[in-house]
Symmetry: C2
């Protein structure tokens, strides 16, 4: 049996939103890798803890946050070479990804470094976006509407232009950009319908209308969902 790197979506937070496929892979894989902010317990590992084998080897990937992006890329270089060595020894590795592996996130860094020389299987997971929509609860997008997924880190003129022509919108990675985003959403008639979803599907899930949110920052992983007009998406 040749070794495979599983880029494994583990869902948005609720351990029951793991797929049967992910649970099966965890039961047979003896090396479990996951990214973590140094010193912070991994949420992805926490989500999957009842499925990870007792004797599995844990391979944390310490990713320095809020420093030069080169430092993060060096961390992925190092981790990819360790994973490559394990695969070459015939040991399969599951790399845990919060949400879906290919919806933002770090799985792509391993895919870029290790494909096509190594066998890689991408296992989709429930994304935070779908969990956020279930939480409010309101359709993410419906009928013949379009949906834009916009990171708050976009340049302001482009972001504003996209919001002007939007129907349904999800704003990702808001964090410290919250005040600016709130202003932009007001200017583009998207503030009134906007809901902020924190920790979608988790035990600490929280939904707040944008206009009632007090504070100048959002948690990085909070999502804002909104739409134009009176009709729900």
């Amino acid at each position: 049996m040749s070794a495979t790197l599983y880029l494994l979506g583990v869902g948005p937070g609720d351990p029951d939103l793991l797929t049967l496929k992910a649970a099966n892979i965890l039961r047979k894989t003896r090396v479990i890798a996951f990214a973590q902010k140094p010193g912070t317990p991994s949420m992805a590992l926490n989500i999957t803890k009842t499925h990870v084998q007792k004797h599995a080897a844990l391979l944390p990937v310490d990713v320095p946050m809020q420093v030069a992006p080169e430092a993060a890329q060096s961390a992925y270089d190092l981790a990819a070479s360790r994973i490559a060595a394990l695969l070459d020894q015939g040991k399969s590795v599951a790399y845990l990804c919060e949400g879906d592996p290919f919806f933002y996130g770090s799985a792509m860094y391993f895919f870029d470094r290790l494909s096509p020389e190594h066998a890689i299987e991408v296992v989709p997971g429930i994304s935070s976006l779908n969990a956020a929509s279930a939480a409010i609860p309101r359709p993410l997008v419906a009928r013949s509407q379009h949906l834009k997924i916009l990171p708050a880190t976009m340049a302001e003129p482009e972001l504003k232009a996209e919001l002007e022509t939007a129907q349904s919108v999800a704003i990702m990675k808001t964090g410290r950009h919250f005040s600016r985003i709130k202003k932009l959403l007001s200017e583009t008639k998207l503030a009134e319908n906007a809901l902020i979803i924190e920790h979608a599907s988790g035990t600490d899930e929280k939904v707040t209308p944008l206009l009632k949110y007090s504070g100048d920052n959002l948690p990085y992983f909070a999502i804002i969902l909104t739409h134009k007009g009176n009709e729900t998406p």
Copy 2:
């Protein structure tokens, strides 16, 4: 125990992409509802068949396709009143939704008709979009990029304008609009990177570069994923 309507995401096609949560709900729910084109077996029911209880009552919702939208809405009216009656009798109902319930799809029609009078729980599922991205395999969206999800049924000027400023794009509901979409993607420099994904995650999953696809139509549920420029998303 009060009765609940579960709007239950069952994932894109692979039965193993069902969530643990959906499997648990199916094991305890005795009425299973699902939309179907009259005379066509339900894909959602097929995905879940190993989890549906032997003695569960099946409640097919016959939705006439490609006729006046009013006919479909009458079908949802009728089905919603039958579901309401079951809930009032204390019987919980699981309404099976391919992919994710609130990412396009018919779940919203039941939510609109039955909330807030009845208890409704939306259980997110793996959307066809995430499965398509895993299938190619290529990130759906990454870093500080934005993603647009555009139905082929959009008016041409709006669709073209959205494609002009796109980074990553998913085109949904292409079907008989394929020739027009192919032309639009060429004009907006999105054709070269475009991949067509049919039956993502299913046993008949198929990935074809847009420029090599012969035929004038796509299956309705096929997805086109593409992005601008040389860098993968």
